[in-house]
């Protein structure tokens, strides 16, 4: 078994193509099934780290402060994301609580932390330790991070509540909004590129030779 760096296989229809050399912002598509084969990441990787850091900071803020507080008849109540999870567990809905915890806290955190660790420009030559399992973990966690759905859910909940009580958005709400935006940008990059992060020299050299 040996590597064929010149080829690319469509994930969705198993067709084989020659690996194209993508220019900036270019996307390669499978002609048979229109699936995305590859996209140019290139310089984006540089931008990825600060975005990840920003996302992490916002994530911390979003979880430390209350998302929203309501006031009803002089009584006020507020909650953070963790508070909602705990409340669900306290009500006996421990499975749902676990689900919410996983999709809004655990998996996004794994994603961000793994990415941060992997993108740290410690070295681009050798892989940092734990590279493989971490990246696998990150890729596995990717479809399960649902912060943007959570954002929409919070908005719907706010509107529902605004009929009943006075609703005061907390700092976490804006943090979550920013986090949503950042995360969307962060996860839109091509993860495959990272696998070859430390082979960049070899890949570049290879491409040079082929073109």
């Amino acid at each position: 078994m040996h590597q064929r760096p010149d080829l690319i296989v469509c994930e969705e229809c198993d067709a084989v193509y020659q690996r194209p050399l993508l220019g900036h912002c270019e996307v390669a598509r499978c002609p048979r099934c229109q699936a995305e084969l590859d996209r140019h990441t290139g310089g984006r990787l540089d931008r990825l780290l600060p975005l990840t850091v920003g996302a992490m900071i916002l994530f911390v803020i979003a979880n430390c402060f209350p998302i929203v507080s309501i006031e009803l008849q002089g009584l006020s109540a507020d909650t953070t994301l963790l508070g909602a999870v705990v409340a669900l567990a306290g009500d006996g809905m421990s499975e749902v609580s676990l689900l919410v915890f996983a999709t809004t806290l655990l998996f996004p955190a794994i994603q961000m932390l793994a990415l941060f660790y992997l993108l740290l420009p410690t070295s681009r030559v050798t892989r940092p330790p734990g590279f493989v399992p971490l990246l696998r973990l990150m890729q596995a966690a990717r479809p399960w991070g649902m912060i943007e759905v959570f954002m929409l859910g919070v908005l719907v909940a706010l509107i529902k509540l605004s009929n009943m009580a006075e609703v005061i958005p907390g700092p976490a709400l804006w943090s979550f909004g920013g986090l949503t935006v950042l995360l969307t940008v962060v996860v839109s990059f091509n993860p495959r590129y990272i696998w070859h992060l430390c082979d960049a020299a070899t890949v570049a050299g290879h491409e040079e030779r082929t073109s």
């Binding site: 078994m1 590597q3 084989v16 229109q34 759905v149």
Partner: protein, 245 residues
């Protein structure tokens, strides 16, 4: 670079220039995208150490099972209350539909639409789409392959948005806990609903879209490339064909 490019494999009408990975004895790693040639079964990708599969293991059966489970869970998800609101005066049990109706009657049509689409239509759509995909893949149908491929992408994309109601209920139940005055509690229905979302997501993850493009096992396809490939490759190929589904 060398690669076996075989004219004969392009004999299928209408897909002249497209080669299957199987026919070329290459396997693409699903995780890192590296293409490996002549990979033995149960090999692991050298770059990312993921197991190399031609197709996802037992894809159709798994998808089928998860799909049926999701269908079963869909019924209590819609019938049982997802949210129990207790105020000073009464107790209100809301199902997903009653939440939509509430928004509709209170004039917030946009929200009613959003919740209706996300919590009712989307799961239904996913179930139906997955059903179509699984059934058609099992029968190796050639009907509307491209559309089916797109359908699969859509299903994967929108899968997560059905979690909307779960988040709404969890935020409300975490927030409205004013003892004596108002108290919101998640109902059983939301656990069922969450399980529907999870099951459909798992189902779509376990469905191998390459099955859409697969021809039926006893097909003339293996015959042609076998003619061009050396015998050893043919033997490998036929083994792989058997290994499919």
């Amino acid at each position: 670079m060398s690669g076996i490019r075989d004219d004969a494999s392009g004999a299928q009408a209408g897909e002249a220039q497209v080669h299957d990975a199987a026919s070329l004895r290459v396997t693409g790693c699903h995780h890192c995208g590296t293409v490996w040639e002549d990979a033995p079964p149960d090999a692991r990708c050298g770059v990312c150490h993921a197991p190399l599969h031609r197709r996802k293991t037992d894809s159709l059966n798994r998808t089928w099972a998860l799909l049926i489970a999701a269908c079963i869970m869909y019924i209590p998800a819609n019938l049982m209350p997802v949210m129990i609101t207790r105020t000073l005066f009464d107790e209100q049990r809301d199902t997903i539909m009653s939440g939509v109706v509430y928004f509709w009657t209170s004039g917030e049509w946009g929200l009613a639409l959003v919740v209706f689409v996300a919590s009712f239509l989307v799961p239904l759509f996913k179930l139906a789409a997955l059903l179509i995909l699984v059934v058609s893949a099992r029968r190796h149908s050639r009907w509307q392959r491209l559309q089916r491929a797109k359908l699969y992408r859509v299903v994967e994309f929108i899968g997560r948005w059905s979690m909307l109601d779960v988040f709404v209920v969890s935020v409300l139940s975490g927030l409205v806990k004013i003892h004596g005055l108002a108290d919101v509690q998640a109902g059983i229905g939301i656990a069922a609903f969450g399980s529907v979302v999870v099951l459909t997501m798992l189902a779509s993850l376990s469905f191998d879209p390459r099955l859409i493009w697969d021809e039926a096992a006893p097909a003339p396809a293996p015959a042609d490339p076998a003619a061009a490939l050396p015998p050893s490759a043919m033997a490998q190929l036929s083994k792989k064909n058997e290994g499919m589904q």
